[in-house]
Structure formats: C-alpha cells, structure tokens
C-alpha cells in the first residue's frame, strides 16, 4: 500500500491532488484565472510551480531538487488539466455541477503530501471549519471576498468533510487506470451503482478485469507490482466517491491475498488463482451471505406483521420477498427520503411481487410507525461499538420505533453481511461521514446520466413525490420536466447566509438496535467486534 515516492507511481496520485485545490469551489461562476493563485495555499509544490520551474533551470540540481522539480512540473500539469476541466464544467451545464465534495478515504494522498511537503500541508486545512460562522471580512480584495463566499457555503460542523470534490468526468485520469475502473467510477458518481454491497461487488468485478489484462512489467514480480497497480485504480475510484467500508474490507483481503502469492508462481496461474479468489470472495461474502441472512431474517417475519423499512436495502428486499414466497402474510411500509429515493425501486419491486406496500417519506415517520410491528434495516457498515452506519434517516426510523409513545417497543432488526463490519468506532455522525453534492437537494432537471440513463437510480425530486403515506404500487410518476429556475434555492451559491447540507449517512447508537442478522448468525450489536475479529482472522 505504501506509495514509493519515485516518479513512476506518483502518477495515480495526481487526480486527487489536482482536485484538492478546488475544494472550496462551487461550480460555475468562479473566474478560472483566480485558481492558480488560490492553489498556492494548499501544497507547496503546487503553489511554487511556475517559480521553481523557472528557477530550477539555471541551478545545478541535487537529487532532492530534481524530485522537487518533477513534482512541480506535475503540479503545473495538474493545474492545466484542472483548468481544462473547469472550462468544461462551465460550458456544459448538462453534467452535474461539481461543488462541495466529500472526503476521500484513500490513505495514499495525505501520506505522500506529508512526505513531500512537510508542514505545508497544514495550510489549507486549518481555517475551514470555523469560517462559515465568522464575520465576512470587509477588505477590498476581491479574491478574499470570493473565497469567503465559497467557504460560507460549507456547513461549519461538517467542514472537515468537504475535503475533496467528486470527480465528474473521466478527464484527467492517468493512463494506468483501466477502462473498467473508469466506467465503474462514473457509475459510482451518478449512483447507478449504489449501496454498500453493490459497490463492493462491482469493484471486485472491475478488479478482476484489471487483473485479467495485467502484465507484470520487467524486473518486478506480480506480488509486488500488482498491489501498486491496483492502488492507482483504487485511488481513482476514491476520487469518484469515497470508498465504502465493504470496498475497503474487500480491497484489504485482496491485497493480502496478492501479497501471499509466491513470487515464483507463473504469471498466468497467479492471475487465474486471483480471479478465482475474487469469485469465491464475492460468492462467500456477499452472494451466499445474502441468502443465509435473508433466510434467517425471513423467519422473523410472522403473519400479520407490519414491517417498516427505510430506503432501499437489497438484503431487506431479498428478505421480504423470501418471506412472501414462504406464504407469510404481512404488510410493508417503506420510508424513503430525498434526494436519492432509493425506496422507490424497492416499493415497485415488492408491489410487483404481490406484497402489500405503503410508501411514504421520512417526515411521515410517526404515522408509519404507529401500526408497525418490526423494523428491518439495511446497513452501510456496523461499527465496533455496535453503531449502525447507514443512509441518513435510518437513525430517525430506529429511534422512532424504539421510543413510540405507547411504550411498546418495536424490535429493530439490522441485516448486514460481516464484510460491512469495521473496527472503527462511531460516536456520532459528524466525525466520519460523506457529503454529497448539495445541488442534489435542489429540484432540478434529471441529471444526464453519463452512462445508461436509469430513472430509479437517480430519480428527480419532482413535487409529485411528496405525497407521503399514499399507496403507490407504481411509485414512478412520469418525469415531468419543470423549470429549474422555479426552485427558490436555485441560486443558493450567490445567496448570502444560506448553506445547503447534503449529508449521506448517520449513526444509530447500539441501544436502538435489537438484533443484527449476519451470515454468521444473529447477534446483539455488542457482538459486532467479536465477529469482526473472527472474520478477519480467518
């Protein structure tokens, strides 16, 4: 995993580094010429780019300086690339406008920056969290004012999460990134592939294609080089969307397996065994695990139940369909939320299979919980203190179920594969989270999907969707294009004192979860670290 600091493998790092300077920058109205100057703050080499390249030519170069120069050149190139991308964005309004991003979880970038630039790294990070609340400085500098304006658009408490902007095009990707990964990245960005398990499977399958088309360069061994090669793919993916816990766990397992390959193994057979490993990993950890979980979760469904679920978890869908096929008679109440509307496709699929479905949005939770008997939830991750890290709104549903006014508790059941367990601890939803593009909160034209346009994956928030509590067996109303300008918030970038927050996850404390169903059996949330330890030691 450790990124060697010689010239060749630094290339993968360029995308994240190049977008770091953009972090404060909401899409379109930004004059591009200000960018290089603002860039001077984040990282030293980036800022010094023009100066050092000029100065370096007439001095004799030490190896360290050479390295610095290479870096500076790269930085300059990055700025050029970025400017190009900027230009694209301003002209093509069709693409989802980039603005506030989310923090990447890739370890390579910070490590490298820290190694290369020493303390310079501190520069951009220190001020942001507080800036939103501070008074706007009244100095004459246009630059500073503009910067203030950008930072005002960050919600102060979550300031640390606006680390990096999501990538919106494949532009600027290094040549090492495999086409399968490029495609996957775009699918991740526009939520075509959404959900922790789906992302994990898609990533592994893409890696399989990377491995299939991989040839070990001369003078190195597969076990050593493939890991770095994969790292560049992973870095690219994480600029598209921060990696999920499941992706991280799968990648860790895969790298461990690669590292364990005997260097004397012929490349062809090593690749075959790797592909087999990926296949069996997917089968074991996700496909079969899902079946086992659905099987034991369906046993908890009884005749006459009213089951509340939140958003669109695939494992909950399997469970409910299985219970339905077993002849159990129960109702399902799907709670959904903006802006992803993941519950819609779930509602459609369940209703199509003949289940009794009620669909409502999260603000009508009190009504939905009133006659509920059980709550089934999916998970993005389970943390070591038993917290459930899942789509934002989950905690609200779990807590409403547990603290119902009548005093009768409704059991809250979480279905989660052990691949989603993590040894991290989450005490709140602030420290670790993901911030999505705030523009998603605006009612707007359906964003043009970069790949196949799939309406459910990214449904436009039309006003029709607000009929909470109605039964909508066919929950997809025809997409009525309406004027973007009609949204009062459309111009939020330029409205002073207005911030939009589009947070993606929240943490449900362990005491609101009665039971976690995994492929290893049913556990209380307190047993998550034990099982995680056991699974990772195997």
């Amino acid at each position: 995993m450790a990124e060697p600091s010689n010239a060749a493998p630094t290339a993968p790092v360029s995308p994240p580094a190049s977008s770091t300077p953009e972090q404060a920058q909401p899409a379109t109205e930004n004059p591009p010429q200000t960018l290089p100057i603002r860039d001077s703050k984040p990282t030293q080499p980036t800022g010094d780019a023009p100066a050092s390249t000029d100065g370096a030519t007439d001095k004799p170069l030490t190896p360290a300086e050479l390295k610095k120069k290479a870096k500076a050149d790269k930085a300059a190139r990055r700025i050029r690339e970025k400017l190009e991308r900027e230009g694209n964005n301003t002209t093509s309004s069709a693409a989802p406008p980039p603005s506030v991003g989310a923090q990447p979880r890739q370890p390579t970038t910070p490590k490298k920056d820290a190694a290369g630039t020493g303390s310079a790294q501190k520069g951009p990070r220190a001020p942001p969290p507080r800036r939103g609340s501070g008074p706007v400085a009244q100095n004459g500098s246009v630059l500073v004012e503009q910067k203030k304006k950008k930072d005002d658009k960050k919600v102060a408490v979550f300031g640390h999460l606006y680390g990096q902007q999501r990538r919106v095009t494949v532009g600027g990707a290094t040549k090492e990134v495999h086409p399968a990964i490029l495609a996957l990245g775009m699918q991740l960005v526009d939520y075509t592939i959404c959900g922790s398990s789906a992302r994990c499977v898609a990533t592994l399958l893409a890696f399989k294609r990377v491995i299939e088309s991989y040839t070990t360069p001369m003078g190195t061994s597969l076990a050593r080089h493939l890991t770095t090669h994969l790292s560049s793919q992973i870095t690219y993916l994480s600029t598209c969307r921060p990696l999920s816990i499941s992706q991280g766990n799968a990648i860790r397992a895969l790298k461990l397996f690669i590292a364990g390959i005997d260097p004397s193994t012929p490349e062809a057979s090593a690749k075959i065994s790797l592909c087999e490993y990926i296949d069996s990993f997917i089968r074991e950890k996700i496909t079969v695990a899902d079946q086992v979980i659905a099987d034991s979760a369906a046993q908890k469904v009884q005749d006459g139940d009213v089951i509340v679920t939140f958003a669109g978890s695939s494992i909950v869908k399997h469970t409910l369909l299985l219970a339905h096929n077993q002849g159990k008679r129960f109702r399902v109440s799907i709670i959904d939320s903006r802006p992803l509307f993941e519950g819609k496709s779930l509602a459609r699929d369940l209703a199509k299979s003949g289940l009794d479905v009620q669909y409502s949005l999260v603000h009508s939770i009190t009504h939905a919980v009133k006659d509920a008997t059980k709550v089934f939830l999916g998970a993005h991750a389970m943390t070591s203190n038993g917290g459930l890290y899942s789509r934002v709104g989950t905690a609200l549903v779990a807590m409403s179920a547990k603290e119902r006014a009548s005093g009768v508790e409704i059991p809250v059941i979480v279905c989660c594969e052990t691949i989603k367990f993590t040894d991290r601890v989450a005490l709140d939803s602030i420290v670790v989270n993901e911030i999505a593009d705030a523009n998603e909160l605006l009612p707007m034209d359906p964003p043009v999907s970069l790949l196949v346009p799939t309406p459910d994956a990214y449904a436009p928030p039309t006003p029709e969707n607000k009929k909470g509590g109605n039964r909508t067996p066919a929950p997809e109303p025809p997409v009525i294009p309406h004027k973007t300008s009609s949204s009062p918030l459309a111009d939020w970038h330029n409205t002073p004192n207005l911030q939009l927050l589009n947070i993606m996850y929240d943490v449900t404390p362990a005491e609101y979860v009665d039971m976690v169903i995994t492929e290893m059996g049913s556990l209380p949330p307190s047993a998550v670290p034990i099982v995680h330890r056991m699974v990772t030691n195997l």
Partner: protein, 352 residues
C-alpha cells in the same frame, strides 16, 4: 451410567423411542437438566442404531431431534443440548485424520459415544464450578431473593451455607418466592416448586422466608440481590425462565438491586427472541374468553375427555417468559461470570 445398561436391555427388544428415553432419563435422575438429558438420549440412540455411514447417522440424529422437539411441549432447554451434540458431531466428522470422513466409521462411532459420555459427566460437574464462581457474590449479612426450582441456584446457596461445614459459613438470609400459579391444579396438595430447597437451606441453619409472587415488589426492599436460575440462555444474553422471572427482573431494575442469573453453559441456546411472544413455543397464558367460549369449552371437554391426542399445550405452571438482557446484571456460569453481551461471544466460540 447404570440407566444406560438397563435401557439397552429394554431397547434391544423394541424400537428405540427417543421421547420415552428422554422422559425416563429426566425422571430417573433429579439432577439432570434438560439439555443433558437430550444429549444422553441421543448418545443412547446412537448406541442402539445400526447406522454404518456418516450421512445415515446425521440423518437419524436430525430426524430424532425433530421428533423429540415436536413431542415435548417446551423444547427450548433441550434444543440447547441437541444443537450442541449435532454441532459436536459435525465438527468431529469434518476434522481430518482417523476420525474424519475418510476414517473408519466404527472408530468414529466409538469415539463419539465415549466423548458424549465424557461431556455428560463434565456437564454434571458444572454445577459445582458455578457454585465456586458464585460463592463470592453471597456475603455475610446479605439477603437473597430467589424463585423457582433451579438446581444450580440451590447448589450455589447450599454451597455458600455449608462452606467448610460450620463456622466459616456465610451468614445470609433467603427470601424464596414460591409460585402460586395454577389454581386449577390437579393436585392441590402438591407443594410448590422450590420447597425442597427451602427445607434443605433451613436444615443448614439459613433463615428462609417464603413469599408469594404477589409480594415480590413489597419484599424486594429487604433483599440485597436477586439470584435466579434459567431454562435457557439466549443469544442476546437474555434468559428464558420460569414464568414470573421477567417481572422480578423488571422490579429489581426499578428498585436498583442487582439481578444475577445462574446457568450452566450448556444451557446457551441458539435462539434470539425479540420479545415475550417471539419464543418458539405455544403458550396459552393470555386467553380471552367470553361466557359463550367457556360454555363451548365445557361441552367439548365432556365429549373428548378420553382423547389425549390434542396438540400439547403448556400448562400455566410450566410456562416460561423471557427476561431481556438489559435487566440482567451478570450471568454466573461454569465458564465464569459473564455480562449478558458476552454470551453471544461464548456462543460464537462454541459454534465456529
């Protein structure tokens, strides 16, 4: 193992009846718990069966287990034993080597039988171990509230009472909650469960007060702690126990007294009830009846009085409830004193 030989003699003549064996074992040995009786019955079954392949054995075991579970009104306790045995069997068969799938089946069988017996013997000793662990909880001058007829609790209390036989014994008092369920009991003169323990404790010089269940809240102020037994310890650390334990747990929590559970670790069941009504048994505790229903019932009773084949219903005095883990301070088991959340860890250790 005296019963083993006598049973073997009987079973040679007629087909082996696992249910009868199980009931017979429970009746013959008052110290036997349900899971152990179930395991012993299964071991006996294997001794009698003529199975010669692994899959045949597993199949036989599965069928008999299912049959046994169906025929017993409350199979929670015994399922701990049958699950454990089955698990043990499978792991033994999966192990490579002489006893693995490639090995000689006869060797496997004798190994299984001898180990099964060893397991039973160990399980019987576990009560002494529990008493050793739990003894420290009972201190001089304390008052303990307990209920039901748990042998593990009785063993613990008696051990504390006659430690070193006399002077060094702990001076403590016991409030014994005697169940007063079943007003329509067929044997009104039958003494309530736990009376035997009360007598034994009194004989050892421990002052015992017996109270009805309705006086628990009233008496709890005088008690320092609650110690109860369990029929089964479930995966989330809660217990399935004699009806009335749950309310004692609730009251103890409300009053702020520690609530300890004494249970052997072979009573850990792979079961995860979400509430009182999520137990895998049919209990008729809350039954709504109008005068019309009662009349109908009387009519039916007179007509089908002789027919005993109606589906088995758990009589009220044998019914159980579920005490959720947040009411339990600690579980005193033969593998140590555990918090409720550690139970799932123990169970996972057994199962994986």
């Amino acid at each position: 193992m005296a019963s083993t030989t006598s049973d073997a003699a009987v079973a040679d003549t007629k087909p082996f009846d696992i249910v009868a064996t199980y009931n017979e074992l429970l009746r013959s040995d008052a110290d036997l718990t349900m899971p152990i009786a179930a395991i012993e019955a299964l071991v006996l079954l294997l001794t009698h069966s003529a199975s010669s392949t692994i899959s045949e054995t597993l199949d036989l075991l599965e069928k008999s287990t299912a049959h046994l579970k169906r025929s017993i009104p409350n199979p929670i306790g015994l399922s701990a034993g049958t699950d454990l045995f089955q698990r043990y069997l499978i792991t033994t068969l999966q192990r490579p080597g002489q006893l693995g799938p490639a090995g000689d089946f006869k060797a496997i069988r004798t190994h299984l039988l001898s180990n099964g017996r060893l397991f039973i013997r160990r399980a019987k000793e576990s009560r002494d171990k529990i008493a050793a662990f739990g003894r420290g909880f009972i201190r001089d001058g304390s008052t303990i509230l307990t209920n039901g007829g748990s042998r593990a609790v009785a063993a613990l209390l008696q051990k504390a009472a006659d430690e070193e036989g006399g002077p060094s014994a702990v001076r403590f008092r016991v409030i014994y909650v005697l169940s007063s369920t079943s007003p329509e009991n067929k044997h009104p003169n039958e003494e309530p469960e736990g009376m035997e323990t009360v007598r034994a404790l009194r004989a050892k010089g421990v002052p015992v007060s017996t109270i009805p269940e309705s006086a628990v809240a009233y008496s709890l102020g005088k008690a320092d702690m609650v110690i109860v037994g369990a029929e089964g310890v479930v995966e989330n650390g809660g217990i399935v126990s004699r009806m009335g334990t749950y309310q004692i747990g609730l009251l103890a929590k409300a009053i702020g007294k520690p609530f300890y559970v004494v249970a052997e670790s072979h009573k850990f069941v792979r079961l995860y009830p979400l509430g009182q009504y999520d137990l895998p048994i049919e209990q008729q505790v809350v039954e709504f009846k109008s005068e019309e229903d009662l009349a109908e019932e009387r009519k039916q009773q007179s007509s089908v009085d002789t027919n005993g084949d109606t589906p088995i219903k758990l009589p009220l005095c044998d019914s159980v409830d579920f005490t959720p883990p947040h009411l339990i301070s600690a579980l005193i088991t033969d593998s140590g004193v555990l918090t409720p959340s550690a139970v799932s860890e123990e169970l996972i250790k057994i199962w994986f």
